[in-house]
Structure formats: structure tokens, C-alpha cells
């Protein structure tokens, strides 16, 4: 975990908080939620690239956390443990969608890109609307590229690249060996390269466009 913000630092020193939460301290539980919600939400969002699903899975994750935290043996295992819960819900959601065959995981709200860009402009949050639009477009492509990876590769790539987990933590969260995790990551990145090339996204296009 890169300590980039106060939140990150707080996360790194949350042992006493987890200890309290294990004893059922509601305040501590809510503090844990506020520390981790953004992380888990972003993790899940990258996995399923759907806002509503991400919200639902994040909430499920924290409810499960509340119900099971007493069973957590070691406090410093909290992080992989939490990601494990989230990942399981992600898999479950993926299976449900596959079963229902209603919406594809990969093709997401591409149509919303323009809309989102407009919303951003309207809020006046962005200095350069055009650049922002391109950024949103790129993000959509990257998200859908992630969605094309296999579940195993996807989780590893997100956990390592975006969540900054250590290989041991990923291994623990996924119940796999570290070597497996590393192999999956390498293969995941290689397939991403192919997917991105197919989508005409290369280092050059990205950096010239933006």
C-alpha cells in the first residue's frame, strides 16, 4: 500500500480499530467502513465496471465483514481478508450475470461516456472539458479491457496495479501460492496488451491524445 494520503496512513495503523471492531464496537466498525469503503468500492468497480453493482457488492462486503470479523484470527490479516470477501462477492455477481445473460460484464455504460463528460463539465470541475472527455473515454476502454480478462487474471491485476497489495496479501486473499499470483499477473498484463492493441490503445496513442 502506498501511503499517499492520510487515509492510507490511517489504514496502515488501524490495528487497534480492528481489535475494537472484533469486539463488536459499532463506532470502530463504522470507522473501518469509512477507511476502507473507497478502496473496496474502486476495487469492485474495476472488476465489474458497473456502478450500481459495485455499490451493492461493497455494501454486501461490509455487512459480511461485520458478521464475520469476530472470526478473524489475526488483526494484520484484515486487508487480504477483506479483499477476499469482496472478491467472492464479485465472483458471485459474475456468475449471476452469466446465468441471467442479461447484460455483459464487459460492455458497460459506454454510451454514458458522453453523458458523464457533460455532467463533469456542468459541474465545472474540470479545466479542460475536451481532455476530460478523452480521459473518460479512455477510462471506459480500460475498464472494458479489464472486463475481458479472465476472473483470475482480472482480480490479480486490479489488486496489484490499483490496490497495491503485496504478492503475499494477494496470495492470501485468493487462496493461491505467490508464484501462481505472479504468473497470473504476468499473463494478465500480456493479455491486456493484446486487448488494448485490438482497441487501438498503445503507449503512443494514449500519450499523444492526452
Amino acid at each position: 500500500m502506498h501511503a499517499e494520503s492520510l487515509l492510507d496512513i490511517a489504514m496502515l495503523h488501524a490495528d487497534t480499530l480492528i481489535e475494537k471492531a472484533r469486539k463488536g464496537d459499532e463506532k470502530a466498525l463504522n470507522q473501518l467502513v469509512s477507511l476502507w469503503y473507497k478502496r473496496i468500492f474502486n476495487y469492485v468497480l474495476k472488476y465489474c465496471s458497473d456502478n450500481d453493482a459495485a455499490t451493492e457488492i461493497s455494501q454486501k462486503t461490509f455487512i459480511a465483514m461485520f458478521r464475520n470479523i469476530a472470526k478473524l484470527k489475526e488483526v494484520d490479516r484484515f486487508k487480504p481478508w477483506l479483499y477476499r470477501i469482496a472478491t467472492n462477492f464479485c465472483y458471485e455477481e459474475g456468475r449471476r450475470i452469466k446465468r441471467d445473460k442479461t447484460i455483459s460484464l464487459t460492455i458497460t455504460n459506454d454510451d454514458n461516456t458522453e453523458h458523464q463528460a457533460e455532467a463533469g463539465e456542468a459541474k465545472g470541475n474540470y479545466f479542460n472539458p475536451e481532455k476530460n472527455f478523452q480521459q473518460l473515454e479512455l477510462e471506459q476502454i480500460l475498464l472494458s479491457a479489464l472486463g475481458e480478462l479472465s476472473e483470475d487474471q482480472r482480480t490479480v491485476v486490479i489488486m496489484k496495479e490499483y490496490e497495491g497489495l503485496k504478492f503475499t496479501e494477494i496470495a492470501e486473499a485468493l487462496d493461491a501460492s505467490e508464484n501462481t499470483v505472479k504468473t497470473r499477473l504476468y499473463r494478465g498484463l500480456k493479455s491486456l496488451k493484446e486487448i488494448l492493441e485490438r482497441k487501438n490503445i498503445t503507449k503512443e496513442t494514449v500519450y499523444y491524445e492526452l
Partner: protein, 259 residues
């Protein structure tokens, strides 16, 4: 050199987690195998591109952990929460309706005369009887009579008011006003007093002004005299000094000036 790093090792190399020796081994392998090096570079650039995907800000919902069976998620739109909210809203609306009905003593029901919604007291509309010509005439008569009575009352009232007004207005006319002696005396004495005050004030101010003027004039005169004296003295002094000069210059000068 049969060494070929596996994908796990390459990953570790990519994330700089290899030991020094292993790292050197991998590097030498990559030097020997440009295609492997290229592949690794590609993976690196993929990582860079993927880094463009930014974090999304999100509103953290607050959870109410009541017991292990119920967890209420507020803010963030949990489906259970929505259900609870709408149920509560419906229940509250019904309660409100019932309470309103109770407090206004609303009554809905079938009476002899038909369907009836009433508030407060449950009164039954008196049976007005048949609608016949005589009845209508009688009702109209009644209505007209009461209306006439009302109009007459109104007219009387207005007349009274007019009379009153006329009476009052007569009093206020200046022409008709005849003051008695006392009032005039009082008024005159009041004016006298006021005048006296004004004149007293005027006198006072005039005296003060005059005194000031006199003072100023005296002071000015004294100053004038003083200056006059000074001037005279100056003249005398000049004259004396001139005489003195002439004396010093000798009788010749004096003589020439005389000539």
C-alpha cells in the same frame, strides 16, 4: 546458458522484488534475448496505460450494526433501506389520515337521506318536504322577508350613521366655532409669554453682540494707538539719526544741504 526465467520471476523482476543475484541473472538473460526484453517492455507500457484509470470518489454510506441479523445501510441506496423507507412512509401516511379523521370527527356513512360525509357532529339533514309550488312560494316568501328585514336594518343603520356624521361635522366647522372668554385669555397670555421670551432672548443676544463689538473696537483702537505711537517713534528716531549723521558728516554737508 540454459537459464530461462519463468513468468513469476519476470513479474517479480518487473516489480523489483528480486534479490540482487536473481536480478542480474534476469538482466543478462534479457540482454541475450531481445524478444523477451521487448515483451517485458510491452508489459511495462501496459502497466503505464492502465495507470490512467483513475480512482472514483464515492460517498461512504454509514452502517447501523444492530445485531448480527440486521444491518441497516443508510445513504448509498441499499435496497433494504429503500424498502424500509417506503414502508415507513406509507405507514406514516395512513396514520396521519386516521388521526385527521379522528380529530375532525369525520363520519362517513349511509343515512336515510343517502350517502353522507360529515365533520364534527353527525347531524341528519332535516327533511325539507315535498318540492311543490306552494312550498317554493313559501320558501321564497320567507327568504324575501328575511332579506327585506335585513335590508331595512341596514338602511336604518346607515341613516343613523349619516345623522351622527352630520352632527359631528357641524362641530368641526371653523365658521361655527364660538370660543368663550377664558380660552381667548389663555391663548393671549400664552402668546404674550412667548413674545416676552422671544424679546428677552433677542435682547440678550443683541447685548452680547454689542458688547463683543465694543470690546473688539476698543481693542482695535488700542492697537491703532499703539501702532500710531510706534510709527511716530520710528519717525522721530529716523529724524534723530539723520540729524546725527549730518552732524557726523560735518558742517560742509550741512551747509551744502542748506544751499
Amino acid at each position: 546458458m540454459n537459464y530461462k526465467p519463468d513468468e513469476a520471476t519476470l513479474t517479480a523482476y518487473l516489480y523489483e522484488e528480486l534479490s540482487k543475484e536473481e536480478q542480474i541473472k534476469v538482466e543478462s538473460y534479457l540482454e541475450a534475448h531481445p524478444e523477451a526484453k521487448q515483451e517485458l517492455e510491452d508489459v511495462r507500457s501496459v502497466r503505464k496505460i492502465m495507470g490512467k484509470l483513475e480512482e472514483k470518489e464515492v460517498v461512504t454510506p454509514s452502517f447501523v450494526f444492530e445485531d448480527s441479523a440486521t444491518v441497516v445501510v443508510s445513504r448509498g441506496g441499499g435496497s433494504f433501506n429503500n424498502f424500509l423507507r417506503s414502508t415507513m412512509a406509507i405507514a406514516a401516511s395512513i396514520t396521519l389520515l386516521i388521526l385527521t379523521g379522528y380529530f375532525t370527527k369525520m363520519n362517513i356513512g349511509w343515512q336515510e337521506s343517502g350517502f353522507q360525509i360529515s365533520f364534527d357532529q353527525n347531524t341528519v339533514q332535516p327533511n325539507v318536504g315535498e318540492v311543490s309550488e306552494e312550498n317554493i312560494k313559501a320558501w321564497m316568501q320567507d327568504a324575501l322577508a328575511s332579506n327585506n328585514e335585513h335590508i331595512i336594518n341596514k338602511i336604518n343603520q346607515v341613516e343613523d350613521e349619516t345623522r351622527q356624521l352630520r352632527k359631528n361635522s357641524g362641530k368641526n366647522q371653523l365658521v361655527n366655532y364660538k370660543p368663550d372668554g377664558d380660552v381667548i385669555d389663555e391663548y393671549v397670555s400664552q402668546i404674550k409669554l412667548e413674545n416676552r421670551d422671544i424679546i428677552l432672548g433677542l435682547m440678550e443676544v443683541a447685548t452680547r453682540d454689542q458688547k463683543k463689538y465694543m470690546d473688539d473696537m476698543m481693542a482695535d483702537f488700542a492697537l491703532f494707538l499703539e501702532r500710531q505711537r510706534q510709527n511716530d517713534l520710528n519717525v522721530i528716531e529716523t529724524a534723530i539719526s539723520q540729524v546725527a549723521n549730518n552732524v557726523e558728516d560735518g558742517p560742509d554737508t550741512y551747509r551744502t544741504s542748506e544751499e
